[in-house]
Amino acid sequence: MSARRARVIGAWLLCVALAAIVVAHARYIADLSAFLPAKPTPMQRLLVDQLREGPGSRLILAALEHGGIKTRAELSIAMAHRLRQDPDFLSVSNGEQISEQHDRNFLFEHRYILSDAVTAERFTADGLKRAIGETIENLASPEGLILKSLVPRDPTGEMLEIVDQLARTAAPQSRDGAWISADGERTLLVAQTAAAGSDTDAQERALDAIRSAFTAVSRAAGTPEAASVRLMLSGPGVFAVAARSKIERAAVRLSIASSMGIIVVLLAVYRSLPALILGLLPVATGALVGIAAVALGFGVVHGITLGFGITLIGESVDYSIYFFIQSSPGAASGSMPWRQQRLWPTIRLGMLTSVCGFASLLPSGFPGLAQLGAYSISGLIAAAAVTRFVLPELLPGDFAIRDVTPLGLRIAGVQERVRRLGAALLWGTAFGLAGIALLVLYHQRESLWDRELSSLSPVPLAEQRYDAKLRGDLGAASVLDLVVVSGPDLESVLRGAERAGRTLEPLIDAKVIGGFDSPANYLPSLATQELRRGSLPDAPALRENLRQGTAGLALNSAQLAPFVNDVETARHAALITPQDLKGTSLAAGFGALILHQSDRWNALLPLHAADPAAPDIDVPRVKNALAAANSSATQLLDLKKESDALYGSYLREAIRLSLAGFAVIVVLLLAVLRSAARVARVLAPLILAVLAVAAALTLCGQRLTILHLVGMLLIVAVGSNYALFFDAHRQDGNGAGLSQTAPLTLASLCIANLSTVIGFGLLSFSQVPVLEALGTTVAPGAFLALLFAAVLTPHLPRGDAPAAPHAQ
């Protein structure tokens, strides 16, 4: 016996130690990828890449509010100056005309390769006549003032072409040198981080850098007005950081709170410190093993899985409650403290039922759900095993907890009074309730499920709206609609981007889109560069063309010798590569629009809405235009639609898997209980509880999400224990009416239920939607499951023999 004890405890400690090592070395991530599919389609991969690393994911939008426009502009300029020194930011834009001498030099030097207008035709006599004629007309305009000095070197106006090319997208208006919203309320600044949006730590550092830059410059300004200016931040990184800390806070705080609640209940019941400590061992072991199993099975642990982890406390603590109470002196009739022959098979069946329910989540394409499944299964098995094998060995010889028989008897009395109403009335009421619930659900069937991914977003609606407002202010690409060109190398995607650009250009005139960004605006494909370079005539030919072309113009060819020199230089210049962009602000713009994975390049062309007030782009028209251009490597990615579609597929899959899990539970119960009637009696209270909770949530205006579905699965998992205990006692109640163990069973079920309701009830106060959804579903559901099981499981008439053998 002693050797067995040593072996059991040794094996347990070894398991715990191994699990602890795995947990300590596991990688924890807290980004959106928990919501992204494990085996994505190409379109979904684009979506994933976009959400994780795309230009949109790197944007931090900052707004300065309150205070005068001038003060805000000064703060914005000072802030941007600081942030531009920080290598963590690719670019900081706030509308300033920063002296981009270097950029201008680069553009001017490479104008014959960068300008879209450069063709062989442009350098013929006719072409030159037209281009120079246009430049002369431009000289009469305000821009002419700025361009005047360039005319001898650039009479065809390529520099103006390039400036137009780069300014294809609308920028917000500037006041006092900084961008401002149309209503003048907000001064705007956009920072692009070097790190991908999925790198939450880096995003957090970037946010801190922006905040401290703001604090420093407003302190340096020193005026009361500057002190009244407020900094507001928004964007994917802001949301990710906030969500992570919120989930962490909620998970930690709520875990502590529910643990405290449960500890208080258990202390009140046990009146024994050893019992309390021993009782928490299965929970702690289960949690540790669960995380270790996820880490081993998936490589990484999603933060959200830890958030769900609380759910395990609810069920695993029940095991030890059943064990202690039913092995207490008041219950003892045999020599063994653990009346295994009766209790263990029921707990085991309850655990297997739960495992079947959670196993249905394992094949889910939604990594968050699959991890939850793995976590729960391994955690429950570990907790049950510790309860079954380790706790009896650890129990001190003089172990005693308070006798809860009186409590059980009181509960039994209440139960008995309710049951006296008669089975017919109770079952009738139950069927009535189920009917009403079904009616409610059927009536709401169209709006039953929330099909938008944002329903899971921990970002409050108010902040989502503020974000939309800032994007509207910026008139910037919402980054929700992108044309994506994929290819095996940079050159192929740049060519694709140029083709797509030619398709999109007419849509600007048609006011379908307001504009678009393209990496080819910063760096044309080598093919295009070569074509342009090759179209430049040699010096004698150009001189002759100029002589003919300028005949009759107000500009004579003798003044244009610098132009002939520059063209000659350009004819022999090297083509531009991405390395040449380094050190110019073009590198940031280019880098943000090119994504490179090991074997794949993507060029991104974010679309801008034609009308900032109506930010929705007519996606089908863009799609048709692209389809007409007939290139399979070019696709339109509608991020919101795609992510909602993805979530919709998760939801459908989760519903299917849950139903499959339910079917497996039915089969399992049929196999063990070997009676359809018994299975029906076990399941009826659970189904009724699920229906009632779903109907109640719907009536409260709550649209159901995937997490509500998980909650329903938990109701079945936890509630099956209750129903099975009642069923087991019904089979035991041979002639004794309320047998000796019945009050104890009742007491332990009620205490287990109370701890579950406390644990999940606290979750429903969480600000994190996923946790709140679980809490509001499981807390009432678990209570109803117990209630229904207690009143609906009928007594056998006295003297009746059990109809079926016990579960063994």
């Binding site: 002369i136 009469a140 821009e143 005319v151 920028a171 208006q173 500037s174």
Partner: protein, 190 residues
Amino acid sequence: MMRPGLCMALLALLGTAAHAASDDLDDLMHLLAGRQHGQVNFVEQHFLAVLSRPVESSGELIYDAPDRLEKRTLQPRPESLVLAGDVLTVRRGRRDHVLDLKAYPQVLPFVESIRATLAGDRSALERIFRVDFAGSLARWTLVLVPRESQVAKTVSQVRIDGSRDNLLHVEIREADGDRSLMTLRDQPAP
């Protein structure tokens, strides 16, 4: 050798003259400020060193009190330039270019000289230029010289001729010797 008395008298005379000019400027500004709306045709000639002959453009100039000025060029190429508050919007082809005047001090004298004059806003004029009034209300000339070196880098002088509350000519001399001359004419009655 001049006698001190004569000296004083001359100084006094000068003072009166200066005072008179200042009064006339106030009167002119008052007169101009009374006008809420104006729409005239313009023909503008640009004399540029780089060009062998002037470029000519024409169109309409529309003013609405207190601070909106639109220069709508029709020839040789349609183009519109709207100055409202501190924001200058240039529409060329199908695109709008929005400039913050404060970010482009070199553009300021070209537009603000005309707008502030039309608005009769003496303080706005004097913020940017030293203002010299000559002639009478019936036929006056304002010579505007930039105060700030930043502005003087592009424009050396703006000269506006007018008769009562009508502007007749605006001549802008640029620092590099280029100049433009805008001639304004009332639109023929419809």
